[in-house]
Symmetry: C2
Subunit: 333 residues, 2 copies
């Protein structure tokens, strides 16, 4: 006979109500209890009738996370943390890769999967505030990562300008005066890059300096950083410090410096942004700006849970995730 | 008025049939056409009635990919390629993280989401062949990565034993005789680790050598590799070559070696496994075994498409993905 909710409850040694809470994806079930119930479900091969349940509740237990590119470790690490945070609500996470392309990002917010997902966490690159505000789909959405200005949308932001100022000021305080940046982008929509460039220039301005050089890149991959650093070194007037707009750019730049016999940090000091695991184990280890990824993931999931709870809830919130400077070997003499 | 299929077709300049093919997730729509149709869908805010469609077709257009850990770059890179391959079929990918835990892996194959997903790509760590064969759920499934033996299941495998032999033989051919391994695991279910250890020992046996040391780890993270290498160096009889069972272990080990002033490869040669982007940009760059991740992703998705096509199709297939040795600086003198 096909196992029922009651059988799962007996097998797990919990109440039917608890099994129901797990199956229906309600929060406030402890991790241990959830694990126990899930094990019982698996062992008995219990299958809730999802179609019936979804029709009744209008819920799928699935949220979507849309990011530009999982092969950039920052997004992979963020995705891991979102999956963990969602798991505590009993939610499954569907991951979309947009490549930062406008058409794909528009599709993400178009509501095409409104019947499939309960909510959306979205880290946009190409869409503007106007695009996002014009959206007609009513699936709850929380934006991640970019401060796009007063948008009347739920939003967990990183203060890119302040963070980039912090990185640049750190280089200046080492006594460096030929400070360059790697990671500017020409596309009108590259908000992350633009904000970090602004913070970089603002810190230099405060120290009565100007940028020694600003290297443009297509993507934020290691290969882009390696090529940009080669350009800076070949320019005839190499920098003595470089702020790279993310860690993968910085690790690519580091590879170029070391392979040419340039000493880091003695000849060129280097700092990145993101605090990916990678940079903790490079030699020399990479100084960086660490946005609190766990905080971002948990706040975003919690904010979505508030919206899904259905009660009026607070007005749209813009929360700013904390960040800090991590001084490692690429900037310590 | 709410836009209809016809409106999307006109806007995109294609036939209604083509729009329908895109919306219904049929393969054999070119990437360009799909992009054009998706842009039109987004611009017109067209929303297909998914519930009705799913009931009619019994299809959601969603496949699941279950991997142990996205923060291990191998799985993030594999996920990226699966998403790209699935995109060509018009499918969305839902990603599950199992942490290699038996209870979570059982849940993945239990069919609890049978109504939500059309098919499953699964990279198991803890489940045995018996577990997988005993599964009662009928959602099409393709296994990735582990050769679990004759299992009557669709499977894209990496020949871990042959690949580990190749890595180890390369170290021996450098003239190294104190060859150690990092990455053995005590858990009975750690198949990847066991197979790579077997290949390692087999290559040594063929050269009439025995393992200089075998370091056990809990996980395959950089920190595990760094700690294991410290142990090997502190043992009083350090190795002159080390095969690490993946690249993140090797990058952790490299960090320990360099920070202690050990020269790589002069004093200790080092090779990893996976060919993650990371190892291409480390200094020295990391020699490795490169399984063809694109091949794995595309074969798996194509195999799933064959199953979903519904026709009887071939009997369960076990395909072996190609791999090759990449000699970089950690093993070139």
């Amino acid at each position: 006979m096909r196992p029922r909710l009651k059988d799962v409850a007996e097998h797990a040694g919990v109440s039917v109500k608890t099994v129901s809470n797990v199956v229906n994806g309600y929060p406030h079930v402890s991790h241990d209890t959830r694990t126990k119930v899930e094990a019982a479900i698996a062992e008995l091969a219990y299958r809730p009738n999802l179609s019936a349940r979804n029709l009744r509740q209008g819920r799928s237990g699935v949220i979507a996370l849309a990011v530009p590119d999982l092969s950039i470790p920052y997004f992979a690490e963020l995705a891991t943390r979102v999956i963990e945070a969602a798991d505590r609500h009993g939610w499954t996470v569907l991951i979309d890769q947009t490549q930062g392309e406008r058409a794909k990002e528009l599709l993400v917010v178009s509501g095409i999967r409104a019947q499939l997902i309960d909510g959306l966490l979205f880290s946009p690159l190409a869409l503007t505030r106007a695009d996002l505000s014009a959206r007609s789909d009513r699936t709850p959405m929380v934006l991640l990562g970019e401060r796009v200005g007063r948008s009347r949308l739920d939003h967990i932001a990183v203060d890119n300008i302040a963070a980039a100022r912090l990185a640049t000021t750190h280089l200046i305080e080492l006594g460096r005066r030929r400070v360059a940046a790697i990671g500017a982008q020409r596309s009108a929509s590259a908000m992350t890059s633009k904000q970090r460039l602004r913070g970089f220039q603002s810190a230099l301005g405060d120290a009565s300096l100007t940028a020694h050089a600003v290297a443009y890149v297509r993507d934020f991959h290691r290969s882009d950083g390696a090529a940009a650093m080669a350009q800076l070194l070949d320019s005839g007037s190499p920098p003595d410090a470089v702020f790279c707009f993310n860690d993968t750019l910085a690790l690519g730049a580091l590879r170029t410096l070391l392979s040419r016999g340039v000493r880091v940090p003695q000849d060129v000091a280097l700092i990145g942004f993101d605090d990916i695991e990678d940079g903790r184990f490079s030699t020399p280890s990479l100084s960086t700006i660490a946005p609190d990824k766990t905080h971002i993931a948990e706040s975003a999931v919690d904010l979505l849970a508030t919206r899904l709870a259905g009660t009026p809830g607070p007005p749209p919130q813009e929360l700013c995730a904390p960040h800090r400077l991590l001084v490692r070997e690429t900037t310590s003499l």
